[in-house]
């Protein structure tokens, strides 16, 4: 519950100053990857390494979700043989990784971004197009 308190403290005095959008990186095709370039608006708020580390971890997680390996093939073949009815019963590998990603983002927000007046939005809520970073006004944050 600690995170609630810090977020509520922030909520009570914060207003959105700006939003930064980290776009997708298509250099490797249509796999879900985000640009690791550090946006200039965040320079005063967070360490470049820290941010790039977050984005890199996210990229790795998405790569894991979309990996063409034996597990995905087995899942695909099984689905085909059962006329895809397994999709009604079982959670797919991708969905499992998405849950992992959601937890990771929550964790990152609580530990790193909220204390700095930032908020990462899970890309799935933006159709996997962007990572939305909300910058809050720096009024009475405990730094």
């Amino acid at each position: 519950m600690a995170e609630t308190h810090s977020l509520q403290d922030m909520r009570q005095q914060a207003a959105v100053a700006a939003k930064v959008f980290i776009q997708r990186d298509y250099t490797n095709g249509t796999v879900c990857q985000f640009q690791t370039k550090f946006p200039s608006e965040l320079e005063t708020r967070i360490d470049k390494q820290q941010f790039e580390e977050t984005v890199r971890t996210l990229n790795n997680l998405y790569a894991e979700a979309e990996k063409l390996g034996s597990q995905s093939y087995i899942e695909g073949c099984l689905a085909c043989l059962t006329a895809y009815t397994v999709f009604l019963c079982m959670e797919t590998h991708y969905e499992k990784v998405l849950k992992k990603i959601a937890k990771f983002i929550q964790e990152q927000n609580d530990k790193i971004y909220a204390p700095r007046g930032l908020l990462l939005t899970d890309p799935i809520e933006r159709g996997l197009r962007v990572i939305e970073v909300t910058i809050f006004e720096d009024r009475s944050l405990t730094r």
Binding site: R11, T27, T30, Y84, F87, R129, F136
Partner: protein
């Protein structure tokens, strides 16, 4: 601490609260609209958003009807003969194929093909800023493209004016459905839906299994006719060879009866033959075409436009998405991981968007606020802060007692909302366990919040100079505990 305790109360109070749809978990609220209800594209939704179709379902009923009708005729008229003369496996194989075809068809038609949700206003503004300095909204600027490098090949990304974003590679905007669809293949009227990234494998299974089914039925029907004609011929021969056994007119009569009994079976058989014959050409052709597309990791859209074939003499190396070999391409397209639906049909529209719409019905408003409070601890932080950002939920930030009761008090003026009035006391009495002074909050807030529901920004109402309201604004800044201090 108090706040968290309060949150624990929430699910119970929500259950107690008398209004509508109480089908929720902590995450799902009650009456707030689900995203499928406000979906901007031209789609139709059924079963509470679980099933979706294009608005023009095309000839899907015809497709289904033809398949069911032809198979029905087959099972009804041909199977009995064939089981007798050949093997019992024939109807079994046909049944399996038929089931596979229908299930694949339904999956293709009812699945989200990979629709991209439209860009949020903030995103759109950011993109506009990046492209252009002069953002005039009164005219449509010239088409915007962005060039990127994919696997050392230059690919142009186009800007979609409807969805207000740069389309990812291989994404196309379907004008019939008014959506951008990822890995857009084509809009199939037979299936009544677009074929895209998420349902391409279902579509492929459908056409392959349909090819097998039509070929199988075609073969069986030909066999049936052949066998029957042989039997008729041998019967005629038998009668002719032993003329002494029967008088001539009786033998003719027997032949006639036999022909007639063949006839109604034959009529159905002929219908099946005709349907299968014409379908086979188109279905087999389509299957072959899509097998080629799968093997070279192309979409129909790209193939028709010749996106990659004009470069480097039409070989696979022109396609930056193609893997090194055919097997990998096939596996990637058909057996790859199943991407999730991005449009979140069953999710709830965030209340800051819903409140202006809901202001007309006071019953919904208390539920929104109740949901907001419940969500403080449990929902994603983004939603929480977004709500704060839009500041239409500032009363949600009130200490639980006032916020809970305030909007319920808003319903005083309208009759249906009156029924919710007992619930504030119920709520307060629940809260009595922890804060014995909630009841004064009820009376206080009911009188003061009368005019705020129609305000889009009740936060400003809260800050109005009325003395009772000013106390609320004071309370806002204090810790939640003090929210239950009785107001004299």
């Amino acid at each position: 601490m108090k706040n968290c305790e309060y949150q624990q109360i929430d699910p119970r109070t929500l259950v107690v609260s008398p209004s509508s749809a109480q089908k929720h978990t902590e995450k799902e609220a009650e009456r707030p609209r689900r995203k499928w209800e406000v979906f901007p594209g031209k789609n139709r939704f059924f079963c509470g958003g679980r099933i979706m179709l294009a608005r023009q379902s095309g000839v899907l009923p015809l497709t289904l009807g033809l398949i069911v009708f032809t198979c029905g005729l087959f099972f009804g008229f041909d199977c009995s003969f064939l089981v007798e003369h050949l093997t019992v496996f024939i109807p079994m194989i046909a049944a399996v194929l038929f089931l596979f075809v229908v299930i694949s068809l339904l999956w293709t038609s009812f699945t989200d093909p990979g629709i991209l949700p439209r860009a949020t206003p903030d995103e759109a503004a950011d993109i506009e800023k990046q492209i252009n300095t002069s953002g005039s909204s009164t005219y449509r600027p010239p088409p915007r493209t962005k060039e990127i490098l994919i696997n050392q090949q230059v690919v142009k990304l186009k800007y979609c004016f409807t969805c207000k974003m740069f389309r990812p590679p291989r994404t196309s905007h379907c004008s019939l459905c008014d959506n951008c669809v990822e890995r857009f293949d084509h809009h199939c009227p037979w299936v009544g839906n677009c074929v895209g990234k998420r349902n391409y494998r279902f579509f492929y299974s459908f056409i392959i299994s349909l090819s097998f089914l039509t070929s199988f039925i075609f073969g069986c029907v030909i066999t049936h006719i052949t066998l029957r004609s042989q039997i008729c011929k041998s019967l005629v021969q038998a009668i002719q060879e032993s003329p002494a056994r029967y008088p001539l007119y009786i033998s003719h009569f027997i032949i006639l009866i036999e022909m007639l009994s063949c006839l109604d079976t034959s009529l159905c058989t002929v219908v099946e033959l005709v349907v299968c014959f014409f379908s086979i050409w188109s279905i087999l052709g389509l299957s072959g075409f899509h097998t080629y597309l799968v093997a070279s990791n192309l979409t129909t859209n790209e193939d028709i436009k010749g996106s990659w074939s004009s470069k480097r003499g039409a070989d696979e190396s022109g396609n930056p998405y193609s893997h090194s070999n055919i097997i990998t391409n096939c596996c990637a397209t058909l057996c790859g991981p199943m991407p999730p639906s991005l449009i979140d049909r069953r999710g709830f529209v965030p209340p800051d968007e819903a409140i202006p719409a809901a202001s007309a019905s006071e019953i919904e408003l208390p539920l929104f606020t109740a949901k907001n409070d419940a969500h403080m601890c449990t929902q994603s932080t983004k939603d929480m802060l977004e709500r704060m950002v839009h500041s239409s939920d500032f009363h949600g930030l009130c200490p639980p007692g006032t916020s809970k009761t305030a909007p319920l008090g808003l319903g005083v003026t309208s009759t249906p909302a009156r029924s919710t009035q007992p619930s504030p006391s119920a709520l307060c009495s629940q809260q009595h366990v922890h804060q014995p002074v909630a009841l004064p909050c009820t009376t206080y807030s009911r009188s003061s919040k009368r005019d705020s529901p129609l305000s889009i920004n009740p936060a400003f109402r809260l800050a109005s100079p009325s003395p009772s309201l000013s106390r609320v604004s004071l309370i806002l800044d204090d810790s939640p505990d003090t929210g239950f201090v009785p107001i004299p």
